[in-house]
Amino acid sequence: MNRVADYEILDSVSREERDPLFTAVPPRRLGLSADRVLLKVAQIELGARQLHRAAEEMRILAAVKSPYLVELYDAGQDGDKLFYSMEHPTLGTLESPRQPLASDEKLAAVADAARGAHALHEAGIAHRNIRPSCILLYASGAKLADLGMAKHFDAGNSVSMMPDVTDIEFIDPAIITGEVPSRASDVWSLGATLHWAMSGGQLLHPGRADLDPFAAMRRVLTEPPLISPDLPDDVAAVVARALERDPADRPATAEELAVEVAALIEAP
């Protein structure tokens, strides 16, 4: 794939095979000064009504203004693909930063993403798919991007844990079974993202990657996550609260989590 609509695709940004993120050259019709945008391409079958819904969702998203949310430039449908373009992350993503990040930089990025999630929640939208690859890094701070739009339109709430083993790492298990995305499920995802970033990419269910899919999913759905002993105690406590099985035991809002995460940053 080297073109979607009138975007010229340069390279892939995320490691996800399904619904990937690309670096692309924006069409001139947008009148942007930037020569690069981040382009999301989701392969979905949209009927007229779902298309209308997608457009409406994009409009609402574009209307939510927050310094912690990426700016949406453009959105549309090209054949069987839904696409939308956003600010290009100059410093990479939390998953693949341009340069290695210090602990405080990781904490600041997750805190910013939590504030972005909170802005969405206040606008009545759940992100549904927060993970390290959708936390974009800029000199001014981090921004949250890439709503889980495609999942929104999938039949049957299906979630794939293959081929990328990290796929389900950041999803609240209750969502996998079909619960409705909420503030609490996004808080769970932020907690899992914090764990991943601060532990150097360790899984919440260690050894899951070596199991067959049945056993791995069984472990994810029924066993509590195991927080890495490598995390400092105060970070582990914040992660543990965000990953509480009962949503009522998690921070009530993403903003509350942002405050907790920001408090972990060592004073200069």
Binding site: L51, H52, A75, G76, G124, G178, L221
Partner: protein
């Protein structure tokens, strides 16, 4: 040069006219002299907006009853006036409809991705002729209606033409009112899992027909409706379109399977309250995990097969299609059904050619289901069709 919308003529009976920013559609048999008069009035009207345009057209004789629609586009905003059986839809959703009487109906519509004008009598024709994918720049042609496609600002030089498959969304203007913030409190899952079609509110008998479906689009709508809804009281679930079952609450008020040893939400042991059986909305029962790693949430029924959309229950919206094709040729088009009954996951063979095999924990051998034969799939039980294996994974600790 300012960009202007592309005007695509739709098949069907009637007449379409375009003169610059003025576009009109007239019903079949509309008197030509009257049409010319209306076009002239619209052209010479200096009033602003749809109300102004309607005023200009009202002044003329409106005793005839034929339907028409006149649109004038100014900087991406359409002033629209319709009369009679005409429907104007914006991005596929109805926006304006003429009245059968003599009066004119008017509205201003800001730029939509698409705007379609069509005679009402044409709407229900299943096999109506398709559109003509050309841009009518000027002139009069036969046609059952028109679709405007929003113009994009013209680039400074040699624009790469957007393919006709591309539809751009206008992000500038939300057309729905802002949503309420998401509910703060975590509501017990049994109350918010409202993604089912309307169904009888009475608790079903064990032999009741499979409960209502969650078609993809419906699920989307329901999810959004949930987002909009204020926090619901935890009990009782009042809505008629939630699937009610008998269950028990854990000490923290989460609704569970009476047979559960631990709460599926918070993991508490089910001891204190498990004697009190109450009605509640059934939470998802877990997932059906395919051996390729895809998990399907058990919050509704599925039909499995190579072409499950051919199943009557799928067409009727009673079950979602779950397409499985492992390339072995051993999976029938419509192979098996997964039905949620109360708290059980029931597998039924739908007359497949090679049968449906089920293996439940504790049993010593596989069981092959014949046509229309059913069996309850236990947690960690496996289901095989062709060479594809599914496992039912309950969120309940066993």
């Amino acid at each position: 040069m300012t960009p202007s919308p592309r005007v695509e003529v739709l098949g069907g009976a009637g007449t379409v006219c375009r003169d610059g920013t003025l576009v009109a559609w007239f019903a079949p048999g509309f008197p030509p002299t009257r049409a010319h008069e209306l076009l002239e009035l619209a052209r010479s009207s200096t009033a602003n907006g749809a109300a102004g345009l309607a005023g200009a057209l009202e002044t003329s004789d409106s005793s005839d009853s034929s339907a028409f629609c006149v649109l004038v586009e100014t900087d991406g905003t359409f002033a629209i006036v319709v009369k009679g059986h005409v429907v104007v839809s914006e991005d596929g959703l109805e926006r304006l409809r003429g009245t059968a009487g003599k009066g004119l109906v008017s509205a201003d519509v800001a730029t939509a991705a698409s705007l379609t004008v069509r005679g009402e009598n044409d709407l229900d024709q299943l096999n109506r002729p398709g559109s003509v994918p050309f841009d009518l720049r000027d002139g009069v042609v036969p046609g059952g209606g028109v679709t405007f496609w929003a113009a994009e600002p013209l680039p400074a030089s040699a624009p790469p033409e957007l393919d006709e498959n591309v539809v751009l969304f206008d992000l500038s203007m939300p057309q729905a009112p802002p949503r309420a913030p998401l509910p703060l409190a975590s509501i017990p899952a049994s109350v918010i899992s409202d993604v089912e079609e309307p169904t009888e509110a009475t608790p079903p008998e064990p032999t009741a027909p499979p409960e209502a479906p969650v078609e993809a689009a419906e699920a989307v709508l329901a999810v959004e409706a949930t987002e909009l809804a204020p926090p619901a009281p935890p009990t009782p679930p009042a809505s008629a379109h939630q699937h009610l079952v008998r269950g028990v609450n854990c000490a923290r008020g989460h609704f569970n399977n009476p047979r559960a040893l631990y709460c599926g939400i918070c993991g508490l042991a089910m001891v204190q309250n498990s004697v009190v059986v109450v009605d509640g909305v059934r939470p998802p029962l877990g997932v059906l995990l395919l051996d390729d790693g895809t998990a399907y949430s058990l919050d509704g029924d599925y039909v499995l097969g190579r072409e499950p959309e051919q199943a009557q229950d799928v067409a009727a919206g009673l079950a979602r299609p779950l397409k499985v094709d492992d390339g072995t040729g051993k999976i029938s088009r419509v192979h098996a059904r997964v039905t949620l009954q109360e708290w059980d996951v029931v597998i039924t063979d739908l007359g497949s050619h090679n049968g449906t095999r089920v293996f439940n924990p504790g049993e010593t051998s596989w069981r092959t289901l014949r046509a229309d034969e059913s069996v309850v799939l236990q947690p960690r039980g496996r289901l095989v069709i062709g060479q594809s294996t599914f496992e039912f994974q309950s969120i309940q600790r066993q």
